[in-house]
C-alpha cells in the first residue's frame, strides 16, 4: 500500500541522449514507483524509454511510453488510490566485495520530454 508520507514526486527532463534521472536507489531497498506521467516537449511524436542500470552492467528497459501525437501526455494511473500497488519495482544498489555498486534509473526519448515519477524507496 502506498504511504503518502514516504512518497516522493520528482520531475525529470528527458532528451535524446540517455541520462541518469534522480538519485541512486539505496542499498537494501527497492524503488517502488506508484505513478508515472510522461509529456512530450518536442512538438513531434516521441518514444520515451525508462531504464535501470547497475553501474558496470547492462541497461534494463523498464518500460516504453509511445506518445503518438505531439505534446501528448501519458499518465498512469490517473488517480493514485490509497491502496495502490506499485506499477514498477526497481531493485536497489548492491554491494560487491564491500563496495557499493549504484543502481540508477535512466531515461531517453527520441526528442525532449518530461517525466514525472511518484515513488518511494523502501525495503
Amino acid at each position: 500500500m502506498v504511504d503518502k508520507r514516504g512518497l516522493q514526486s520528482e520531475r525529470y527532463p528527458v532528451t535524446a541522449v540517455v541520462a541518469i534521472i534522480g538519485s541512486a536507489i539505496p542499498v537494501n531497498m527497492r524503488r517502488y514507483i506508484y505513478r508515472v506521467k510522461v509529456q512530450d516537449d518536442s512538438g513531434a511524436p516521441n518514444l520515451v524509454e525508462l531504464q535501470s542500470l547497475l553501474v558496470g552492467g547492462v541497461p534494463v528497459v523498464v518500460d516504453q511510453f509511445r506518445l503518438a501525437v505531439a505534446d501528448e501526455t501519458y499518465v498512469d494511473p490517473d488517480e493514485l488510490k490509497e491502496d495502490a500497488l506499485p506499477i514498477y519495482i526497481i531493485p536497489g544498489s548492491t554491494v560487491v566485495a564491500g563496495a557499493t555498486v549504484a543502481r540508477n534509473l535512466r531515461a531517453i526519448g527520441t526528442g525532449n520530454a518530461s517525466l514525472l515519477l511518484e515513488y518511494e524507496d523502501s525495503e
Binding site: S23, D121, S122
Partner: protein, 229 residues
C-alpha cells in the same frame, strides 16, 4: 512502505489514578502512586531538514523557542510519560537518555547515528500512531532525552517531524516497605519501568528525587529485586 501493526495502542499504556509505578534508576527503584493525570501533545515537532545519507549536526533536546524542554517536567511534582511517532517513514531517529548516553545499542561497539542499529523510524512508530512501545519515555525533573536523525535515502528529507504524546502525572512517593516489596515482587499490580535502559546502566536518579526517596529505600529496593521475597 507499510505501516506496522502494533499489538497494543500506546494509549492503553498510560497510567490512571491510583496506579502504582516503580521506576528503576541506577541506584534502585523509586515507587510512586499516581494521583492524577493530564494529557498533552507536541505535534508536529520539527527536527528540520536532513540531507541525503546524512544526520543532524546536533542532538535535539526537544525544546521550544525559549529553550524549555517539552519532555522534562518543569517541576519536581510531576512525572512525564511520553511516546512518539516519526515522519518520514524512513527517517531514523536515534535516542540519548540522559543526554550523551546512547541507548538501544545491540552490538559491543558504540552505536553510531549513521548505522543500522538502535533507531526508531516512521514505519516502526507511525507519525499518527499507534506509537511503538520502544518509544516510551518516563521523565522526572532534571532528566531528559535528546534525539538525532539519520536519512538513509539518497533523496533529501525536507522536514523530519516527531509527534509526541505526553501524559503528565501527579504522584506521591511510596515509603511503605511492605508495599514496595509487593510492587517489586509483582504481587501487587503496578508498572515497573527501567528508566532509559540497561546498557550500561539505567539513568542515575536525580539528587532531588534521591533525597526524597532516601538512600535506605533505594538500597532496600535493590535487595528486594535481587533476593525476591
Amino acid at each position: 512502505m507499510q505501516t506496522a501493526l502494533m499489538k497494543e495502542s500506546h494509549e492503553n499504556l498510560f497510567l490512571k489514578e491510583g496506579y502504582l509505578l516503580a521506576l528503576q534508576f541506577a541506584q534502585g527503584y523509586a515507587c510512586f502512586r499516581i494521583l492524577g493525570w493530564e494529557p498533552s501533545n507536541v505535534k508536529p515537532y520539527s527536527l528540520g531538514a536532513v540531507a541525503a545519507v546524512s544526520n543532524l549536526a546536533a542532538w535535539n533536546e526537544i525544546v521550544d523557542a525559549g529553550g524549555r524542554r517539552y519532555l522534562m517536567p518543569p517541576q519536581e511534582s510531576w512525572i512525564y510519560h511520553s511516546f512518539y511517532g516519526v515522519n518520514k517513514p524512513k527517517a531514523r531517529v536515534f535516542f540519548q537518555y540522559p543526554t550523551r548516553q546512547d541507548r538501544m545499542n545491540l552490538v559491543a561497539v558504540q552505536r553510531t547515528i549513521t548505522g543500522d542499529v538502535g533507531y526508531v523510524d516512521g514505519e516502526m512508530s507511525p507519525f499518527d500512531g499507534p506509537f511503538a512501545l520502544k518509544t516510551q519515555i518516563f521523565a522526572v525533573h532534571e532528566l531528559y532525552p535528546a534525539f538525532n536523525c539519520y536519512n538513509p535515502l539518497n533523496d533529501a528529507m525536507d522536514n523530519v517531524m516527531l509527534n509526541f504524546e505526553v501524559m503528565r502525572y501527579s504522584y506521591v512517593i511510596i515509603k511503605n516497605r511492605d508495599l514496595i516489596r509487593e510492587i517489586l515482587t509483582l504481587r501487587r499490580p503496578g508498572r515497573l519501568h527501567t528508566v532509559a535502559g540497561i546498557d550500561p546502566e539505567p539513568a542515575r536518579i536525580p539528587d532531588w528525587l534521591s533525597d526524597l526517596v532516601g538512600k535506605g529505600l533505594l538500597d532496600y529496593s535493590q535487595t528486594v529485586i535481587e533476593e525476591g521475597s
